[in-house]
Amino acid sequence: MSSASRGSPDHGTSAEADLARRSVAMHSDPRFIELKRRLRIFIFPMSAAFLAWYLLYVLMSAYARDFMATVLFGQVNVALLFGLLQFVTTFGIAILYSRYAGARLDPLSEKLRDELNNGSGPGPAPAGGASPAPAPTDGDTAAPTDSSAPRADDEKGRGA
C-alpha cells in the first residue's frame, strides 16, 4: 500500500529498479527456494486432491445414480452426505492451509520481504551479513530460535 499511491511504479523509478535487482538476486537465494518449495509442496498436491475429490462427486452424480441413491438413515442418502462432505472438506482445507501458511510460510516470507524492501537484501556481497543473524525483523513471533521452523503462529493461523 505504502509505495503505491504516487506515479506509476511500472516505469522503473530507480527504487523500483533497485528492488528488481534485489529480487533477481533473491530468486536464487536458498531461503527463497525453500519458501517456494514449501508453498508449492502444499498448494499443488492439495489443489489436485480437492479437484479430484470434487470431480469424483460430479462424475458419481452423473454416472453412479444407484449408489448415490442408497439411503443411509432416515431421509439421508449417499448423494446428500457426499454433497455435505464437499462442504466439510472445503472448510477443512481452508483451515489447514491457513494454519500451514501461518506456521510455515508467513514468518519466512515476512523476513525475505523486509530484507527486499529495506534494501539489506541478499545481493552476493551483503548476504553474508544477513543470513546468520537471528531474525531481527521477525517482530511478532514470540521467540523462535530457528527461523526456519517457527511454530509460534500456530494459534493465529486459525481459519475464519
Binding site: 533477481v24 502444499f42 472445503t90 516470507s109 527486499l116
Partner: protein
C-alpha cells in the same frame, strides 16, 4: 388459510415493498456520497485505498459473489428439481479453494488494480492488456445482463403486477423496463461517484442483509418442522410428487431418457457445468479485483477464509429454503408464478409469514425478502461495473492507448466515464435481452472466465516459459471457444419442447444451426484455452528470465507490493 396462501399468486403489499426499496436505495446512495468524498487517488477509486480489513473484504466478497442467481436461482432449482440445485451450490463453493490456494495471495502481492497487471507483468503490455480487457469486459457484460434481466423479471413479479393490471400506471412490461433502467442508473452512480469504497460498502450491507434474511427464513422453516430436517426432507419429496428421486441427482441435470445419445449428452453437460463452476470463480474479474482492497496478502487470505465461511453457510441455508419452498409452497404454486422457480424464496417468505402471523406478516416477510433480493442485485452489478470500467481505463486506456503515460487523474476520470458508458450499454442490451435465460448468461460468464482468464492467470504465475504469444492465444482462444460453442449449441437454436413444439432456444422454433450438443461449453473450451496458451507459448521464442524471477519473488514474498 394455508391453502389460500398457496393458491394465490405472490401478491405482496406494494406499499411496504416500495417503502423498503426506497430505504435501501437511500441508504446505498448515502454510502455513495460518503465514499465519494473519500475517493481521490487511483488507489482509492480502483482498490478502496487498500484499507479494508480481511473481515470487511470477506463480507464484501460474499456480497459480490452471491448473486440473484445464487439466492433466487438455486433455491428455485432445489424447490422444483430437488437435489440438483445442490450441485450448483457445491461447485460455487469448492471453486473458492482455487482462489484461496492458487490465486488470491499471489495476485495481491504482484498486481495493482486489475487481473492484467499480473498477466502482463513479464510480457509485452499492449497485446496482453488488450486481450485481458476484452475478456474482462465480455465476462462482466454477460454477468451484468444476467443480473439486470433477472432484476426486471423479478421486480415485476414481486410487486405483484398481473398481466392485466398496472402499478403506478405501469404495466408489467413497462415495470420490467423501468426496473432495468433504474438498476442501471444506480450501478452507474455507485461506481462513478463511490468507486471501490462505495461499491465495497454496498456489498457489505448486502451481505449482512442477505445472511440475515436467509438465516431468518431458515430458522422459521426449521421451526415449522420442529427443527427436524429429516421431516422437512420427507415432506418436500412427498409433496414434489417425485418421491425419493427428489432427493437424488438427475431430475434437472444429466437427465436419463430412452434416447441413449440424449442421455450421453445430458450427462456430459452436467460434468461440463460442474467443471466450469469450479474453475470459473477464480477467473471472474469482479472477484479478482476485490483482493486488491486489503493491505497485505495475509489479509487477502483472511478475506477468502471469511468468504468461504459465509458462502458455505449461505448455500447450506439455501438447501433448507429450497426444500422448504418445495414442502410449504409446493411446486405447482411456484411454477404458476415463475416457470423457472426464481420466486420460490420470496413465495416461501410470504407463506411462512402467513402461517405464523396471517396475511400481514406474510406481506411484510415478502417485502423484506424482495428487498434483500434487490440489494443482492445492486451489489453484484456495482462490482461488475467497477471491474469492467477498471479494466477499460487501467488496461486499455492507460496502458494501451496512452502507453503508460496517462496521469492518475486522467486515468480515474476515464474510469468514471467508462462506468457511465458500460452502464449505458448494459441498460440498452438488457432491455433488448429481456427474453434471455438468466441461468444461461451466468453459466456462460463462468465458462468464459474459466476458459479465457484462468489459463492466462495461472500460467503467468506458475509457468516459467509462458510468454506474450501464449497469453494472447490463451485468452482469445478460450474466449472464442466458449462463446462460439454456446452460439452453436441448443441454447441458441434448435431446441424444441417435444410436447408443445415451442422453441426452448434463443431463436424461434424452426431455426436450427446447432451442431455442438452440450449447453455448457466448459468441458471443451477450458482445455482448449489451456491448449492455446501452451501452443502459443511454444511457438514464440520470447522469454524474459529476469522478469520471471522478479514476478516470482514478488508474488511469493510480497516485496514491493502496492
Amino acid at each position: 388459510m394455508n391453502l389460500a396462501a398457496e393458491a394465490a399468486p405472490t401478491n405482496g403489499n406494494p406499499i411496504i415493498t416500495m417503502s423498503l426499496f426506497l430505504v435501501l436505495v437511500a441508504a446505498t446512495l448515502g454510502i455513495t456520497i460518503w465514499a465519494s468524498r473519500r475517493t481521490k487517488t487511483a488507489t482509492d477509486f480502483y482498490a478502496g485505498g487498500r484499507g479494508f480489513s480481511g473481515v470487511q473484504n470477506g463480507l464484501a466478497i460474499g456480497g459480490d459473489y452471491m448473486s440473484a442467481a445464487s439466492f433466487l436461482g438455486i433455491a428455485g432449482i432445489i424447490a422444483l428439481y430437488g437435489y440438483d440445485g445442490f450441485l450448483y451450490s457445491i461447485g460455487f463453493l469448492v471453486a473458492w479453494l482455487v482462489a484461496l490456494l492458487l490465486v488470491a495471495e499471489l495476485l495481491r502481492n504482484s498486481g495493482r488494480f486489475t487481473m492484467a497487471d499480473v498477466v502482463s507483468y513479464r510480457m509485452r503490455q499492449r497485446p496482453v492488456r488488450t486481450a485481458a480487457a476484452f475478456s474482462t469486459i465480455t465476462v462482466s457484460i454477460f454477468y451484468l445482463l444476467a443480473q439486470m434481466v433477472g432484476a426486471g423479471a423479478l421486480i415485476a413479479l414481486l410487486l405483484g403486477i398481473q398481466p392485466d393490471e398496472t402499478f403506478l400506471g405501469l404495466t408489467a412490461e413497462q415495470a420490467k423496463m423501468a426496473t432495468i433502467v433504474l438498476v442501471g442508473i444506480l450501478m452507474i452512480v455507485y461506481v462513478t461517484f463511490g468507486g471501490m469504497k462505495g461499491t465495497t460498502w454496498v456489498q457489505i450491507v448486502k451481505a449482512v442483509l442477505l445472511m440475515a434474511g436467509a438465516g431468518l427464513l431458515t430458522v422459521l422453516v426449521l421451526a415449522h418442522y420442529g427443527f427436524n430436517f429429516g421431516e422437512l426432507l420427507a415432506d418436500a419429496s412427498q409433496r414434489s410428487g417425485q418421491g425419493g428421486a427428489f432427493l437424488e441427482p438427475g431430475l434437472r441435470y444429466g437427465v436419463e431418457s430412452d434416447d441413449a445419445l440424449a442421455t450421453l449428452w445430458s450427462k456430459l453437460d452436467l460434468v461440463s457445468l460442474g467443471v466450469a463452476l469450479v474453475l470459473g470463480t477464480a477467473g471472474l474479474p469482479h472477484i479478482l479485483i476485490r483482493f486488491y482492497t486489503v493491505p497485505t496478502a495475509k489479509a487477502a487470505r483472511t478475506s477468502v477464509n471469511w468468504a468461504i465461511a459465509l458462502i458455505g453457510t449461505f448455500y447450506l441455508l439455501t438447501l433448507v429454503l429450497g426444500f422448504g419452498a418445495a414442502a410449504i409452497v409446493g411446486s405447482d404454486a411456484i411454477k404458476t408464478q415463475d416457470a423457472a422457480g426464481n420466486t420460490a424464496a420470496p413465495q416461501l417468505a410470504q407463506a411462512i409469514g402467513g402461517l405464523l402471523g396471517g396475511d400481514t406478516l406474510g406481506a411484510v416477510m415478502l417485502a423484506f425478502i424482495a428487498s434483500v433480493a434487490f440489494a443482492t442485485i445492486l451489489a453484484v452489478v456495482a462490482g461488475l461495473t467497477l471491474a469492467s470500467s477498471s479494466s477499460l481505463a487501467h488496461d486499455f486506456y492507460a496502458n494501451v492507448v496512452r502507453k503508460g503515460q496517462a496521469s492518475e487523474q486522467q486515468e480515474v476520470r476515464v474510469a468514471r466515464f467508462s462506468a457511465l458508458g458500460i452502464g449505458a450499454v448494459s441498460i440498452v442490451l438488457a432491455v433488448f435481452a429481456q427474453s434471455l435465460n438468466v441461468a444461461f448468461l451466468v453459466a456462460l460468464a463462468f465458462a468464459v472466465a474459466a476458459s479465457a482468464n484462468l489459463p492466462a492467470l495461472l500460467l503467468s504465475l506458475f509457468w516459467r516459459r509462458f510468454n506474450t504469444a501464449g497469453a494472447v492465444a490463451g485468452i482469445y482462444g478460450g474466449l472464442i471457444a466458449a462463446v462460439g460453442l454456446v452460439f452453436f449449441s441448443p441454447v441458441v437454436s434448435g431446441k424444441v419442447d417435444p410436447a408443445t413444439g415451442d422453441s426452448l432456444s434463443l431463436f424461434t422454433a424452426g431455426v436450427d444451426f446447432a451442431w455442438f450438443p452440450l449447453e455448457n461449453p466448459g468441458l471443451v473450451s477450458i482445455p482448449f484455452g489451456f491448449l492455446c496458451a501452451v501452443v502459443g507459448t511454444l511457438m514464440s521464442k520470447e522469454h524474459d528470465e529476469e522478469k520471471h524471477a522478479v514476478l516470482e519473488v514478488r508474488s511469493i514474498t510480497g516485496a514491493g507490493a502496492h
